[in-house]
Symmetry: C2
Subunit: 273 residues, 2 copies
């Protein structure tokens, strides 16, 4: 099945279910956040890539919940891989996007949960458990619920790069060529900021910033941001202007005009890593 | 007068008052946070240095409160300069430390309020209004109150740089020489992260990270972090190991052992900008 096959009751049920999943992940991750005995393991690829017990515990809780309530759907998760489904729908989950923030006590990590059909993600949640803030987009919904209540998600109308605020997580983004491409955009914007992981996508969806450019992403990093940002009126592609995929490159923009300007700079020379 | 002249009742009153000031700043700044019509002005020095109406409104509210309740004390504020006092005590306030975070919608800005005598800051608050989280240190108190309740502030016991987490706000920190000195430390630590402004000092005081190294700071940026970190068991100096002052350089460490290791690397060659 695809998103187009869902009737109103099914859509409402899926919106309820993704909220339940986010609640589960919130409880699991908060148990571990800022605990003195939190141990970060090295995944062994030579790069410091912390995986916490919280990450694994939360993904297991979400998989168990989905097994009970959506046994026909597939699952793609960061920690425990792919479980094929029969329905044509796949849940894509990253219980803690931003593990480096998580182990540093910074609140700018997030729970990512998305639902995709063959065309891609069409429902997503970016949840920040410590702040108690949830950004949800898809199936007619584009909303943030947080400390100041509920509000619509709507991307900004900035159409001039010189007025734009750009975020990326690591200043040393990607390969040398990717870094050079990023700098071509960063040199033209008003403000470049670092370090927020998925929270930057939430800020873009909520209309506070204009661009997020990343490299080296994994499939479970990009699904929920795509759904939330598209629901809020933004646009997300890879650095070639196509659907984000295996390249790990992604550019999210508040609107198509800004997207085209930034994309042109990324592509000035070959930016593939 | 100095901190040593304060009796128990005066100490309690000052702890109450700094909480009231933080409450006032919280209300003023939250009115403006994430508002679509927030306008950031350019201070005109060629660098993008946003000043918001929230910054000014909050500082005015704090100054008015202090004029009523502590008319003898001096005030040093980011927006409206120095007002000399007769008591020997000075309030040092930065209503929004991290204006770039503030205008980007990121929750990692903070309200900084400190009280100093001739020896320096001895009471401080780092408050994050959106999260509802307050870090307070001095006069026998070292505490965080936030979404998960209250907890003691206590810095970490990490004594090996290779296990340390380091934060700074801007990857392009300071002058070329300052940047080189910073990189000597960053090359030795386990993890380097960017972008949290004063919130990084709060994380250090709360025992989640080990080092914060900054350059280009102003006097109103450093007073509250010094008080909060020292109350939590940490150590804060300039890059020469002395009291932070006009150089704008500051290193905050979880403990003296780690501080000595990082300081030695900063000083390997002349790191003054």
């Amino acid at each position: 099945m695809t998103r187009d096959d869902l009737d109103a009751a099914q859509r409402a049920a899926l919106l309820g279910l993704i909220g339940d999943l986010a609640d589960l992940a919130r409880a699991e991750t908060l148990q571990w956040f800022r605990r003195a005995d939190l141990v970060a393991a090295d995944k062994g690829d030579g790069v410091f890539d912390p995986v916490t017990q919280a990450d694994r515990a939360a993904e297991q809780a979400l998989r168990a919940h989905l097994a009970r309530h959506r046994p026909e759907d597939g699952i793609l998760g960061e920690e425990f891989g792919t479980e094929p489904g029969a329905s044509g729908l796949t849940w894509i989950i990253d219980p803690i996007d931003g593990t480096r923030s998580f182990i540093s006590g910074s609140p700018c990590w997030g729970v990512l949960i998305a639902l995709a059909d063959a065309r891609g993600p069409f429902l997503g949640v970016i949840d920040q458990p410590y702040i108690g803030e949830r950004f949800i987009g898809g199936l007619g919904v584009a909303q943030v619920i947080g400390p100041q209540g509920a509000a619509m998600l709507k991307t900004r109308s900035t159409t001039d790069l010189s007025q734009a605020t750009l975020f990326t997580t690591f200043p040393e983004i990607g390969s040398d060529a990717e870094r050079a491409a990023f700098v071509r955009v960063a040199d033209q914007v008003r403000l470049t900021r670092y370090g927020l992981d998925c929270y930057a996508y939430a800020l873009l969806a909520a209309g506070h910033i204009d661009l997020v450019i990343e490299a080296g992403l994994n499939p479970y990093d990009i699904a929920a941001p795509i759904a939330v940002i598209e629901a809020a009126g933004g646009i997300v592609t890879d650095w070639q202007g196509g659907r984000p995929g295996q390249s790990g490159q992604m550019i999210a923009a508040a609107n198509p005009v800004l997207h085209a300007q930034a994309l042109a700079l990324l592509q000035k020379s070959d930016a593939r890593g």
